[in-house]
């Protein structure tokens, strides 16, 4: 596939840009924060986003979706990175939908995907058990009991955990020397007995929850994918999520850079625009190039998912690592080049570095993916 957008994709992106620019600019995030809205995003806005079709982009038509592919969703994520719009796009529309689709569990797909598509229901993945990203390290136990399982354990860093109607949970159903074996995936209603949710406000005003499972019963039909062999589904799901987060970080980097560039042209010091200083010019030019690199890796990775290529894992780590590094640089340069004003809460540029920090952490930070890139390349 050529590394250019189709006309249709360009239209989707432009529509996303228009919608987010008018309905959910950075001011929207600021207001949510200042209003101390506890979900961290606007449910109303999510309904509108769902009406735009964004909750349904990757969902197959059979389940009420648009079946428009990951490249399309990636473009929307990139634009929502530009406006820092908080929403369940990643947690529900990307990660949970992917897990459901990949699980091949038709019953659960029918039950949930159509309601995700309309924006009515929200799901979140609950799989982390430490502050570091270690998806294979699952100590949550699922003990067989009657026509189901009893789950006990604690899940950390569950994105939008306090808004979720249900969780997709990893649990160990069989002990194994290989930590990737013996793990199963369950779909667990958030209101099930024994589920306790504690939610934390993050630095970017998103919400992350600790979900405690104290002998929670799930029936067998809530099992997603094969028993004992849910990890491959999780892994594929995470790679899709990583690529989506990379797309969002690209948007964060690009917008942070655009604003900084604008500032360099406007702000005068010593009688000239600060953008005429060569040291800043070279740094800006270097950053421009880094963002160009990100555009290529993100598009390639998104297309790889749509083509079901063999390189998804490698490209996911490439994209997550590279976009994480670049957005770090772009947002840090954003503050430094804005000077004192950039340090004030009144100014928007600081929101970008906060959101980068959270995105970079999720599903493995840059170093995690550098490590994985090397392993995938056998060194």
């Amino acid at each position: 596939m050529a590394l250019v957008l189709t006309e249709e994709q360009t239209m989707l992106r432009d529509a996303a840009k228009d919608f987010l620019g008018s309905r959910a600019p950075v001011l929207h995030l600021r207001q949510l924060r200042d209003d101390e809205e506890t979900q961290g995003f606007s449910r109303e806005l999510w309904t509108e986003m769902a009406e735009m079709g964004w909750a349904a982009i990757i969902i197959p038509e059979t389940y009420g979706g648009l079946d428009y592919g990951y490249t399309g969703l990636g473009l929307v994520l990139e634009e929502s990175g530009r406006t820092l719009t908080p929403s369940p796009l990643i947690s529900t529309a990307l990660l949970s939908s992917s897990a459901l689709i990949l699980s091949g569990n038709d019953g659960l797909c029918e039950q949930w995907l159509s309601q995700i598509a309309t924006g009515e229901k929200l799901l979140s993945l609950a799989f982390e058990e430490s502050a570091q990203h270690r998806p294979a390290s699952v100590t949550t136990q699922a003990v067989s009991e009657g026509d189901g399982y009893r789950l006990s354990g604690t899940k950390l860093g569950v994105m939008n955990g306090n808004s979720a109607d249900a969780f997709i949970v990893t649990a160990r159903t069989r002990l194994s020397d290989d930590p990737c074996e013996g793990v199963s995936l369950f779909l667990l209603p958030a209101n099930a007995d024994g589920v306790k949710i504690e939610t934390t406000q993050l630095l970017d005003n998103h919400r992350s929850s600790t979900v405690r499972l104290d002998g929670v019963f799930v029936s067998s039909d809530q099992l997603m994918g094969p028993l004992h062999d849910g990890y491959p589904i999780l892994k594929k799901t995470l790679d899709r999520g990583r690529i989506g987060i990379a797309a969002e970080m690209l948007g964060v980097a690009q917008e942070s850079f655009d604003r900084t560039l604008q500032y360099l042209k406007e702000r005068k010091q010593f009688g000239v625009p600060i953008g005429s200083f060569q040291a800043l010019q070279h740094r800006a030019a270097t950053l421009f190039g880094e963002i160009e690199l990100c555009k290529s890796v993100v598009l390639k990775a998104l297309q790889a998912v749509d083509e079901n290529s063999d390189d998804i894992a490698l490209l996911a780590s490439l994209a997550k690592a590279k976009c994480g590094q670049t957005a770090k640089l772009a947002t840090a340069e954003g503050i430094q080049m804005h000077g004192g004003i950039g340090m004030t809460d009144e100014f928007d540029i600081g929101f970008f570095i906060k959101h980068w920090r959270a995105l970079n952490q999720q599903l493995g930070d840059s170093r995690f993916h550098l490590e994985r890139f090397a392993r995938l390349r056998a060194y």
Binding site: Q132, L203, Q269, F270, A332, G340, D345, I353, R367
Partner: protein, 394 residues
């Protein structure tokens, strides 16, 4: 006091023994233990009040200032002995004061006799807490581009405009301030240095919230503020010399930031505790490579500070190199906090709640981003190194 060093030491020891309250003989547990004095300050304890009072009367809050203005009048050797003896009993500083660290030296150099007699004793006794009025919203790195006009009205000046980045502007008593007294002169001319009470009618103070949350910084607005003529320091329109004198001072104070981890664990130790080791190596090979590069620089910087101190002791002046220290120290500190955030993973993302002490790590990390901006940006420091150390043109 005795001029014989040994005698002097004994006298100091005795005086401290009698006068330093027991509660003041332990290291401060946090910034909150610092005594800033001034009319708005609420003493944490009677001991704190007493300690300031006694040290102020003795002149030892400014031990090397002349006795005639209330200072300690100590010579270099005596000053060293006083410091050693205070350290010996872990005596806390009796007073933190911009008056002593910044304004005082400028007054001693540029003030007239009346001004010295008026302000210096009050500074020494901790009666006035000073705020600094340099930066303006549109000046940025180009500090001399300040605009706040002070118009000559005979026995007073009338000040308008505003100042930004004034530390503790909301709790300070008086301000030392750069104002423009000749709008037609070239940028560096036409600036004057003035002192005034922040209670003067026409002054509004607004605290600045940073990306990390609350801050001591304020914006200060002036509307027809009357400044009596006798509160103008140094020559009229020659205030830029005083500003430069004070800035060099400030830069040297900030430059040691890179080593601010005193007392806390090293990055590598934190990493091994949080992430763990396999065998004798940290469990994250890429992070380990980044940490070792950081710690090599950190150690090299610490040794360079040690060397600079030894050179100063040997009589070499630090000069423009302080700009490089400021640059490198603040960049190191930003790196340190980037690494600490990375090490703590998702836990470091918390912004509120008890577990994270209201997101302390995240807020500290964000705060470090300002290190390379405040007190002269990294870019300005590198310009100074290029021009004043390397002699590059332009």
């Amino acid at each position: 006091m005795s001029t014989d060093p040994n005698m002097f030491r004994l006298e100091v020891r005795e005086w401290l023994d009698t006068n330093c309250p027991e509660e003041m003989r332990s290291p401060m547990s946090s910034e909150k233990d610092a005594c800033w004095g001034g009319r708005n300050f609420i003493f944490q304890s009677e001991a704190q009040r007493l300690w300031l009072h006694r040290m102020g009367e003795k002149g030892w809050t400014a031990p090397d200032w002349p006795k005639e203005y209330g200072g300690g009048g100590l010579n270099r050797e005596q000053l060293k002995i006083l410091n050693q003896e205070m350290k010996r009993i872990n005596a806390r500083p009796a007073l933190y004061s911009f008056g002593i660290s910044m304004l005082g030296p400028a007054l001693l150099k540029y003030g007239n006799e009346a001004q010295k007699l008026t302000y210096l004793p009050a500074i020494i006794r901790g009666e006035i807490r000073w705020a600094q009025g340099y930066s303006e919203p549109n000046a940025g790195s180009d500090l001399a581009n300040l605009q706040a006009p002070a118009v000559d009205k005979g026995d007073h000046y009338l000040l308008n405009g505003s100042k930004i980045w004034t530390s503790y502007g909301d709790v300070g008593d008086w301000m030392f301030c750069l104002v423009r007294t000749d709008p037609d002169a070239s940028k560096h001319q036409g600036i004057s240095f003035m002192l005034f009470d922040l209670k003067t009618p026409g002054i509004t103070v607004r605290p600045i919230k940073l990306i990390s949350g609350r801050s001591p910084f304020c914006e200060v607005f002036f509307e027809d503020v009357k400044i009596p003529r006798e509160q103008q320091v140094g020559e009229l329109n020659k205030g830029w010399s005083i500003a430069k004198y004070l800035l060099t001072h400030e830069r040297e104070m900030i430059s040691w930031t890179g080593l601010s981890r005193t007392g806390s664990d090293s990055v590598s130790k934190t990493a091994t505790q949080v992430i763990g080791k396999t065998g004798d190596k940290l469990d994250d090979a890429i992070l380990r490579a980044d940490i070792v590069r950081f710690e090599v620089d950190e150690m090299a910087f610490a040794l360079t500070i040690e060397r600079a101190r030894d050179e100063v002791k040997a009589g070499v002046s630090l000069g423009a190199v302080s700009s490089w220290f400021k640059f490198f120290g603040t960049e190191l500190n930003k790196q340190r906090y980037n690494l600490l955030m990375d090490i703590h993973g998702s836990e470091a993302l918390a912004w509120s709640g008890e577990a994270s002490d209201d997101g302390k790590l995240a807020r500290d990390w964000l705060r470090t981003k300002g290190n390379s901006i405040e007190g002269g940006t990294s870019e300005i420091q590198l310009n100074i190194v290029a021009k004043h150390i390397l002699g590059l043109p332009g």
